[in-house]
Amino acid sequence: MTDTAEPTAPPTTRQRQAAKIAEAASGPIGWTLLKILLLAIVDAIALYAAYVLFTHQEWLVLGIVVVVAALVNWIYFSRKRVPAKYLTPGIIFLVVFQVFTLLYTGYIGFTNYGTGHNGTKEQAISSLLASAQERVEDSPTYPVTVVEQFGTYGLLVTDPDTGDALLGTADQPLTEVDAEFAGGQAVGVDGWTTLPIAKVFTLSAELEKLSVPFSDDPNDGSLRAPDGQKGYLYVSTLAYDADADTITDTKNGTVYSDLGTGAFTSEDGEELLPGWQTTVGFDNFVRAISDQSIRGPLISVTVWTFVFALVSVASTFFLGLLLALVFNNTRMRFRNGYRIILILPYAFPAFLSALVWAGMMNESFGFINQVLFGGAEIPWLTDPVLAKVSVLLVNLWLGFPYMFLVCMGALQGIPSDVNEAAVMDGANPWQIFRRIKLPLLLVTVAPLLISSFAFNFNNFNLIYMLTNGGPRFDDVSIPVGHTDILISMVYKVAFTGQNRDYGLASAFTILIFIVVATISIISFRKTKALEELN
């Protein structure tokens, strides 16, 4: 029989030990060690992060890190939970790079984050008050020594005119004191500790608050020492009332109050900047659709984006397919040489190619006009219609090699007997292509066409480098032009000029996401019909 070699008696202790050693030597122990080592590294990093987060009191993130680390350990130390072992890394990546970004963008879309609304309300108030300090005209520079008494800080000031020593704190106006002098400057006074300059440097927060009234009359201003050595006399033009939560302009009495719009606003609608970040609900979305100066360009930019993406996909696909068919023909000589040349545009970085094309298409100095058209002045990039044509042409040049490669692969995947059978049945080459090859090809290529559409929909590089959206629309308030697509428009709204509007840009991004997602879902549904062919 076949199983005669099987020992009939149970294994002895020695045999069991031998089997264990053999098993260990064959590998698993090495892997286990490696697994433990890697998990140890992960845990060490998590522990360090937890410590750092703890010192920064970031409780939410700390909680997430701890839970994730625990989960990772639980999953990988177990012998079971095999699916989780495969899924966990992917899910973590998904959450970190996709879900987080998406949620954060969504959140920004509902805020007024942008120029003038950049930080918190506290920061805005302190910044407003700090910049409202005006040095009293023609006031002298006061040599200052910072002194301390039981945790209260004071300024020991030498009057540059009389040479007298004056002492004051935030609550106590300057009064004359007897002081020790060194080099004409008061440096010490009884009962107060003179702080060395190195110590003063560490007291920024205290010194910032230390504004010593010059006299009992607040209109005389107060003395501050921004560098801890020289004092200057300031008056403030703004006053903050913490109870009423208002800021008053002391010059003309205008009261600015917080109306929930993220900035202190006066009754006639004048805002004090900086304001602060606050959620504004659907304001950004409403603005994107209703604001006259944005709606106009938004519509034409959206239409052009679709035209651009569709024409780009179609033109590159058909040129790529045509070339693939040609080079798939075995009667063609030097096929490999041609193929390599055709791949070249694909091998260059797209943004560089776009830059080079922008130079070649320059109206007076470009290669195309100068050499190919004998000095003609064709406004390739400056005429609205020609600029669109140029963008499409350059994108065709950039995009067909990819389609060529894809179609080439797909064509080679179609069995040759299908072709032969069709020839036997008397089909002509066009019929073979139209009825047999193309449908079979589309099964493979359709998902790639959809992703190519999504890519071109957001093909920022090309637009930015080639035309930068130009030529500009001449009747809108944002710097958008005839060849701008949605994503480059978003970029301009968010990142160019002096007035950034991250909130509005995020709202646009969400709208674009919805459009692309809808189109992709519909298209993928449609392509399922193609798969029935197989």
């Binding site: 490696l34 590294i41 990772v72 973590i92 920061q123 560098d227 930068n468 002096q498």
Partner: protein, 406 residues
């Protein structure tokens, strides 16, 4: 399965690391700039510096540390993203204590509340007037200036031995190029505009630009528009929107143009190319002075800095000295902002040339309203150069800007 474990664990490691880095981003707290811990005697100043100038500042930083015990940490950064990073990081409490930048950032920095006022005290009068004016925003000084930059005429002295006496003289003498581009370049055309008596904004009593007083639409503005049209496509063709920075440079280097209106940043290239460069004032098309924009570079203190005292001291009493300003000058070859340093730097004829032109320069407005102007300005100028009706186009520019500022 065995084989995959390593991969999975590695993935896990990367994933956790990235979670943490995100956590790092999210956690603001007190990352930089020392703690407010009262017992600590030494503090650290973090300074973001244009990467090319780190070395020039290193000596000053070392000397300052030796003298005061305050550690100055210089971080070289790319100029391109310094401003945006600063604006975004300061409110989270990260960011540096001091950032190196240009005065036209001021409007944005101030509107975002990320800069702290700086008291120059009596040393204010030691700076070139244009530098001090540029450092002041809304009556408050925010910047310690270190360099003043303005455009001037670079003349190829081999082709044109004598400076031009007027704009027409210059174009007649042998080629003039100026950088434009499809969307125009108002910065480079500004001296000609001012020569027609049309600055962008008027100034208020304190000398600050007044956004309510738009001078663009003054009589001079329309005269300038007519002149632009006359120099454009349908006129002499001297101005051409197809000429961008690269093309202008090439024409000058090839000797096709004897005069090039550009800034000190291009002098090095021209000298290296073996051209006998002389710096001339900008010839006026109208007889009045042609004032270019001055860009002033300097240092800002973060509004959230925990070390404002040391930062103030370092800037005012250290960077504001002649030696350090001259060090920075050597690194960038741009006229120092401190008058004493500027005068010693002007022993170089090229610097002296720029200084002479700079005497007529006006600071580029940093007020946020300027953003609205830039948006329409260049496009309108480009349209006029390319043959659009000067009166109507300029009027539209004025209307658009007026509407945008409101």
């Amino acid at each position: 399965m065995k084989v995959n474990k390593r991969g999975i664990a590695a993935f896990g490691a990367i994933a956790v690391v990235s979670t943490l880095s995100l956590a790092g981003c999210a956690s603001g707290g007190t990352a930089d700039g020392g703690s407010s811990d009262g017992d600590k005697d030494a503090s650290t100043l973090t300074v973001w510096v244009d990467a090319e100038r780190v070395d020039a500042l290193q000596d000053a930083a070392d000397a300052y540390e030796k003298k005061t015990g305050v550690t100055v940490k210089l971080l070289g950064k790319s100029v391109d993203d310094m401003k945006d990073d600063f604006i975004q990081q300061v409110p989270t409490g990260k960011g540096p204590d001091i950032v190196m930048g240009a005065h036209d950032w001021l409007g944005e920095l101030s509107a975002n509340g990320v800069v702290a006022p700086l008291e120059l005290g009596d040393s204010a009068s030691d700076y070139l007037p244009v530098a001090l004016q540029a450092a002041t925003y809304d009556g408050t000084v925010y910047m310690l200036p270190y360099a003043v930059e303005n455009i001037a005429i670079l003349r190829n002295a081999d082709l044109a031995p004598e400076p031009a006496t007027s704009f027409d003289d210059m174009t007649a003498k042998g080629g003039f190029v100026v950088e434009q581009g499809a969307e125009g370049n108002p910065y480079h055309l500004y001296p000609f505009q001012t020569a027609f008596g049309a600055p962008v904004f008027g100034t208020d009593s304190s000398g600050s630009y007044d956004p309510a007083n738009l001078q663009l639409g003054s009589e001079g503005g329309f005269a300038f528009a007519d002149w632009l049209a006359a120099q454009g496509k349908n006129g002499t063709g001297v101005l051409n929107t197809d000429v961008d920075g690269e093309i202008a440079k090439q024409q000058f280097l090839d000797g096709k143009a004897a005069f090039w209106l550009t800034g000190p940043w291009n002098v090095g290239t021209a000298v290296d190319a073996g051209i006998n460069v002389a710096i001339d004032p900008i010839p006026s098309p109208s007889g009045q002075t042609a004032s270019p924009f001055a860009g002033v570079k300097g240092f800002f203190v973060s509004a959230e800095s925990k070390n404002k005292v040391a930062a103030n001291d370092f800037l005012v009493n250290y960077i504001g000295t002649e030696d350090v300003q001259l060090e920075l000058f050597k690194a960038g070859n741009v006229l120092p902002a401190l008058t004493a340093a500027a005068d010693s730097a002007a022993s170089d004829p090229i610097i002296a040339g720029f200084q002479a032109v700079g005497a007529d320069a006006v600071p580029m407005p940093a007020i946020p309203a300027m953003g609205s102007v830039w948006q329409f300005w260049g496009v309108a100028e480009a349209a006029i150069i390319n043959g659009a009706d000067p009166k109507a186009t300029w009027q539209k520019l004025v209307d658009d800007v007026t509407a945008a500022i409101k």
